[in-house]
C-alpha cells in the first residue's frame, strides 16, 4: 500500500469518527502543513491556530473527501481555505514593500532577522505578495508536484509556473535593493 492509499484509508476512518486515525494523519503531514501555514501567516502562533482550524475542518468534513484528488492535495486545499478565512481581516505582519535604506547600515528588520537566525532570502520571501508566497509554500515547503499545487490553487499548471518565475524575479529585486546577492 503506497502513502496515498494509507492516507485515503486513514481519512476514511476519520470520517467514521476514529480520532486515533486523525492523530496518525496529523503526524504524517503536520510538518509540511505547518511549514506551509507558517509561510502564509508569517507568525508561529497564528500558523498554529490555523493548523488547529484545519484539523478541525478535516475532522468534521472528512466524509466530504470525494476521492478524486490525492489526500495531500485535499488537505492542503483545506489548510489554504482555513488560512484565508483567518487571515482575511488580518493586516500583513510585514510591509509588502521593502523600505529603502540609502546608508546601507542594518535597519530594525535586518537586526530582527539576524536575531531570529533567519536568512535575508527567507525574510524576502516573507515580503512577497500573498499569491506568490502561497505558490512558493505549496511547491517548496509542502513539496507538492506542480500539478497538485495547481489543483489546490484552482489554476492551470502554466499559471503555477509563471507565478514561481514572477516570485523569483521579485525576490531578486528585493534582495538587490538590500545589497544582498541572489
Amino acid at each position: 500500500m503506497g502513502t496515498d492509499e494509507v492516507d485515503a484509508a486513514l481519512l476514511g476512518l476519520v470520517a467514521r469518527g476514529d480520532s486515533a486515525a486523525l492523530t496518525r494523519l496529523y503526524e504524517a503531514h503536520s510538518g509540511r502543513l505547518f511549514g506551509y501555514l507558517l509561510r502564509l501567516a508569517g507568525d508561529r502562533g497564528v500558523a498554529e491556530e490555523i493548523l488547529q482550524d484545519t484539523m478541525l475542518a478535516v475532522w468534521r468534513s472528512a466524509g466530504s473527501y470525494a476521492g478524486g484528488a490525492r489526500v495531500t492535495t485535499w488537505l492542503f486545499g483545506v489548510a489554504r481555505r482555513q488560512a484565508h478565512n483567518r487571515l482575511r481581516n488580518v493586516a500583513p505582519p510585514v510591509p509588502a514593500e521593502a523600505v529603502d535604506r540609502p546608508d546601507g547600515t542594518p535597519g530594525p528588520d535586518e537586526l530582527a532577522i539576524a536575531a531570529a537566525g533567519g536568512t535575508p532570502v527567507a525574510e524576502a520571501i516573507g515580503r512577497l505578495p500573498d499569491h506568490q508566497r502561497d505558490v512558493i509554500g505549496l511547491v517548496f515547503v509542502a513539496g507538492l508536484p506542480l500539478a497538485d499545487a495547481a489543483e489546490v490553487l484552482g489554476v492551470p499548471v502554466g499559471t503555477v509556473k509563471s507565478r514561481l518565475h514572477h516570485a523569483r524575479a521579485r525576490l531578486a529585486q528585493l534582495l538587490s535593493r538590500q545589497g544582498v546577492p541572489e
Binding site: L22, M55, V141
Partner: protein, 289 residues
Amino acid sequence: MNERLMEYAAGTLTPAERATVDAHLAGCDGCRADLAAWAGIAAAADPDVTPPGPALIRRVLARSVLSPVVPPARGGSGPNIDLVRAELRLLRVRVLVASAFVMALGVVLAVVQGGGAGDVLALVAPVVAAAGVSGVYGPRHDPAFEVVAATPTAQRLILLIRLTLVFGYDLILALAASAVVALLGGSVAGIWALVVAWLGPMALLSALSLLLVVWFGPDLAIGAALTLWSLRALSGSVLAQAGWLVDLTGVVWSTNLVTGLVAGVLTVAAVIVAGRGEPVRHSRATYLT
C-alpha cells in the same frame, strides 16, 4: 528543461526524471546556475521548524465538542419529515382521544336530531378544533417548550407544524363525522352541506384560539373560544331576543370568504407573535403575603 528545474529543486521529480535532468545539467552551465537559484529559494522557503505535537489533535477534538457546528442550510427539498415526525410524538394522546370522543358524541346527536344535523356538527367541530389548537404552544402545556426555545429551529416553523398536525387531525375527524352522519341519513342535502356548516366557524375559532394562546396563553384562548361558542349555542333560545347578536353569530358561524380571510389573518398574526417569545404571564411564581 527550465521548468523541470523548479521541481528538481523542490524534490518532487521521480528518480527517472531526476536522472534525465542530471544528465542535462552535467553539460549546461546556464541550467546549473538556474537550479542553484531555485535551490536557494527552496532552502530559504522551508521554515525548518518543528510542528506542534499530537497534543494539538486533543485540543482540536475538545474544540469539536465545545464549539457548535453551524447546521448546513437545507436546500428547498420540501418539508422536513424528521421534524414533523418529532412533533408528532409530542401530540398528547389524551387530547386526541378526547377530541375523537367529543366528535363521536356530536355524530350521535346529529343522527338523533335528524333535520338539524348540520347545526349540531357546526357546534361540535369548531370547539373541538379550538380546544386542540389552544394546546399547541406555551411553557405550561408544551413538554418541550424549553428545549424548543433553545434550539436553532425557528419557533414559528415548529408552531406551524404543530398547528398543521392538530388542525389537520381535527379536520379529518370532522370530515369523518360528516361522512358518517351523511351515510346514516342524517342530512338530506348530502355531505357537502354538512361540511359547509362547520368548516368556516372551525377555521375562524381555531385561528382566534391560536392567536390568543400565542399571545396570552391557553386559558384565555379556551375561554374566548367557549364564550363565542356559547353565544352561538344560546342564540337560538335564551338570546333569541337580542336580534343583533343572532345576526352577528350568524355571520361568524358560516363558511364564506370573510370567515376564511379573517381566519387567515389571525393565523398569520399568531405566527408573527410566536417568534417574539413566551406568552404574557401575569401570575407570579410566589405570592406576596
